[in-house]
Amino acid sequence: MKNKRFNRSTCYKIFAVAVITILAIAFAFPLYWIITGSFKTSAAINATTPQWWPEEWVMANYQKLFSRQVAPLWEIHIPFTGIQFAGPSVPAAIRWLLNTVFMAVVAMLLTCATAAMAGYALAKKRFLGRTIVFSLIVCAMALPKQVILIPLLREMASLQLYNTIWAVIFPIVGWPFGVFLMKQFSEGIPGEMMEAAKIDGAGEWKTFYTIALPLIKPGIGALAIFTFINSWNDYFMQLIMLTSTKNLTIPLGIAKLQAENAMDFGLIMAGASLASIPIIIIFLIFQKYFTKGITMGAVKG
């Protein structure tokens, strides 16, 4: 009896793994196609019968991508003086990559810093108006940014932030999902530990810094990953807020490439490879943390 059940479950397992393997191939296919496609000749790409493996490897698509437009690698503006310095001219795609990394990293850091503090306060401080603030946060949490598209655009224009990377970063930081998440994590901080710290004479900041922060670290990790990937892929805000070639991000850059060269797939795929490879490398390196982050602090409702 027991043996029979064991067999049945083994059969199921083998069957399921087989199905998942097929699905995995399907999931890996787009990336595979992008990377191999970026090395194909245009004849091979446009062939009506798909060429599964490039017969001839060429760098032409990357050469084309890098020779298209140029932008300064970096620019520094000294506030209030009007003096500015620009880096050497590089292919625009490199600048886009840099912009995107900058945007995602800054958005991630700001979000984690502000959300950790706010989440801690919401969970552990009994201040007036807490319920109202928290209700607002819950209601706004799932709000798509398209809803406030026009007012946000006008606001950025009047703050003179339109067409700067900050116009993309600030709304991401403002999005209250992070605060919600950190509040849920902070609920788990034992009150006794905080009491003990207080008795030892620790101030508010020290209590937060030495007691709360280490406990919610996994949560911060989870939020960091979530924010990084979401802002990297936040095509919409980038589309609305950025116009100059040198201010574009890589997803936006590829979308533009696609529109300009409707079917120069090789060029588009070269751009797409450039966009996805760095983030995949980041993912592979930090994979452990990606998975560790969220599990440890189980999220409570």
Binding site: A26, F27, T114, G174, S276, I279, A298, G301
Partner: protein
Amino acid sequence: MAASKKNPMSKALVRRETIAGYAFMLPSLVFFLGFVIYPMVQCIITSFFDATMNREDIFIGFANYAELFQDTVFLGALRNTAVIVIVSVPVVCIFSLWVSSVIYDLKGAACSAFRCIFYLPVVTGSVAVTVVWKWMFNNYYGIFNYVGTSTGLLDKNINWLGDEKYALGCIILILLTTSVGQPIVLYVSALNNVDQSLVEAAEVDGATKIQCFWRIKWPQIMPTTLYILVITTINSFQCFALIQLLTSGGPNHSTDTIMYYIYYNAFKLYRYGYGNAMGVVLAIIIAVLSAVQFKLAKKD
């Protein structure tokens, strides 16, 4: 909460807590109020105006809202948005739970490899992925038609993205592939963290695998499920790039979502007030849904 009710806090303590609370909240509130609440208020105000490019806004009361509910495209977009969320959220959850339950106890690198592969579309980014999908769905030489007709599954080429019957389905399919990555990663870790002693005890008592799953594992991964529900709902509502890049809401508005239709009204028809009215309606719906979801989750 219970503790504070037993020993009512002194006024001084309340003040201290309030100051500290807001001090900790401040950086976050600056951004939240500045870039979410303020525009939202603006959005509500303009929704009562006939606003367009480079002209003084004209107050028209509830006319935008009145028009909304007679606009078949808007109602269609509302339906499409609902379809996307209602289909993708459960499918993502069930699919990722199933995949994770199969792969989480695989030996060696297999689990990690699967996890990575399912995460790939997420990190590749929807714009890059869209490029390939557009080609795969191509009416004339796309891979679906190529494989379909050469294996005899299809009689003739199907215009996947150009046909009202299929376009929304195609969008949802792509959305699914870019959404399941994170849930799978989360479920795999959650399942690995299930208290093994409980599982073993249940097995000794003669519980079947299925009973074991629902009675022991499921309650333990509940928090993960809730988190996944929330992020998947958020992601599904934000589905914009796929639509803008693949179908522009067409054919015949069959893939319009509210999010895209707002953009469409703003920058193709220059109807800012009308677009904002749509935004307000959507915001109310989402706020109510989030609040209900949160209340329900809290009860559990």
